[in-house]
Symmetry: C2
Subunit: 206 residues, 2 copies
């Protein structure tokens, strides 16, 4: 869906709004407010109203937001009104944990395959997956039309893996390796590294 | 170390600078520049110079940054010139992967204990740890003087666990549960949820 240019920092908050709405729906709730969302998320109600107003009119003054409707709209905005298939590279502890992770259900994602280069691991069963040979990665990913991958390999080979993924047509990478990877401008990368998350907090500790 | 008020978005970039510097040091490098750091990180050289200048003078015009010196200074600024002990709550796939994770070495952190409430898991060996009973969490954490914890439990119990951690004196929480948790203002929280990371990218995909 085509949109005007929205700051990425706003885009980054939409998944948090959606996640809270989904929790409320699970609690059997039908209607919420920017105040309540704000309290759950530690974000001001004004910020939430401002963010959402960039995408349309989702609530009426005084009656709040219909949780089902706003959930559906946010799913459309985030392009997760259908599921995206995922490939995982690296069948170590982190990759295996992600392959078995049940938290993708209802969030727009579905793991389809996991790769490794270790002959000891190739062919192993992890959850419902058989570990595939990284040598087949480009053809397997292209054949399946997968556009999103997660990198869970050592830092030393993460860039090399990213290069192969780009060649395979991957357009978004979630990188668990503790190193920054470089990709072409039309490929999106998010990094997740527990040490950098923690260091951002130790700054504030005595 | 006391500092003037620095925007959190700047603080968030310091761990990335530090991580790149540590990779360069591993490569045997001695000197770098804001240009080179910027290319590795996809951040402009001007931004890096501006960020670092908020904390002092770390390089000389034309000669760049001494990697060893800047590494040491950033470690001091981020309060990781000594290691912080970590407690993990939840001995499922994610908690176990984090307990076995070797990537904390040299990053300022050291896992010391892991807890679960499942009698089937309590007493199990995970890496070098024996899973402890969550019932002993407050006393164990207080006795060890641990200030940082990671939550890797289901979303439904994450807030309850956070409340107990705060009671135990924890001042920083890295939350792997896919739900926002609320803590007192003097406690820091970072969230990491693969689905929200991925949704931030699918927004941009066709």
């Amino acid at each position: 869906m085509a949109q005007k240019q929205i700051p990425d920092i706003v885009v980054a908050r939409l998944p948090l709004y959606l996640r809270s709405l989904q929790h409320m729906a699970q609690e059997g709730r039908k209607v919420t407010s920017s105040q309540e969302l704000g309290e759950r998320l530690g974000i001001s109600a004004a910020q939430i109203r401002k963010d959402l107003s960039q995408f349309g009119e989702f609530g009426k003054q005084g009656t709040g937001y219909n949780i089902g409707y706003l959930t559906e709209q946010l799913q459309k905005i985030l392009n997760i009104d259908h599921d995206w298939d995922l490939a995982i590279v690296g069948a170590g502890d982190i990759g295996s944990a992600v392959a078995r992770y049940r938290g993708f259900a209802n969030r727009g994602f579905s793991v389809k395959m996991i790769f490794d280069n270790d002959p000891q691991k190739i062919g192993d069963q992890i959850g419902s997956f058989v570990v595939r040979d990284v040598a087949d990665m480009v053809s397997d990913i292209q054949e399946a039309g997968i556009k999103i991958a997660m990198i869970a390999v050592p830092a030393t080979v993460a860039q090399q893996v990213a290069n192969v993924l780009v060649k395979a047509g991957i357009k978004a990478i979630l990188n668990y390796a503790p190193i920054s990877i470089n990709v072409p401008q039309n490929v999106h990368v998010q990094h997740t590294d527990p040490s950098t998350h923690l260091q951002r907090m130790t700054y504030y500790l005595e």
